[in-house]
Amino acid sequence: MSGLVLALTVLLAAAMIGAALVAVIGKSLPIAILSAGLVSLVASVLFLLLASPDVAMTEAAIGSGLTTFLFFFILGRMRGGEHD
């Protein structure tokens, strides 16, 4: 099983770094926010692989749910500001 876990770790790390790059240097702001949510999503699976289900659950409930939501809430209030 350890080969499987290793391959999965590499895959998840690559996905996470790709999503982080989109979040930081992508053109459109909503996509950047969505990518930050994706980073949290993949990170929570990585936390589970690192044998910490408590942290994985926190990241699932807070990082990818509420934080993404807060960003879109604020962005919806400031239409027109995202092009600066």
Partner: protein
């Protein structure tokens, strides 16, 4: 495996810092900060990981008697639990300030904020 996760966490921190330093839009800086935050959490959890061991929760697969040889270090996990919750609070706070900034200036560009510049 812990090393791979740790390297990924370090790269996330660097990517987040790069975004926070080079972007001029406040919302983009906040997004970059959350990415760096996730990276820090991954590094901290990876430090506590030990090869071939499992989560610090006792049940029928991990009886109390051999907990000492089967579980990983629970202290970093407790710390990261705290860090994630506080990170969400800080993000909310930054977003509230960004909202006020936009209300006053009608822009999100940080370089337009020149009151204290001389």
């Amino acid at each position: 495996m812990a090393q791979i996760a740790m390297a990924a966490g370090f790269i996330l921190i660097l990517v987040g810092f790069y975004g926070a330093l080079t972007n001029r839009n406040i919302l983009r800086m906040i997004v970059a900060f959350t990415v760096a935050d996730t990276g820090v959490n991954i590094v901290m959890v990876a430090v506590g990981y030990m090869r071939g061991r499992t989560a610090p929760i006792l049940d029928e697969t991990v009886p109390v008697a051999d907990a000492l040889s089967r579980i990983i270090d629970p202290v970093p996990q407790a710390l990261v639990l705290t860090a994630i919750v506080i990170g969400m609070g800080i993000t909310a706070l930054m977003l509230a300030f960004a909202y006020r900034f936009y209300e006053k200036k009608r822009t999100l560009d940080i370089t337009k904020c020149t009151e204290l510049k001389w």
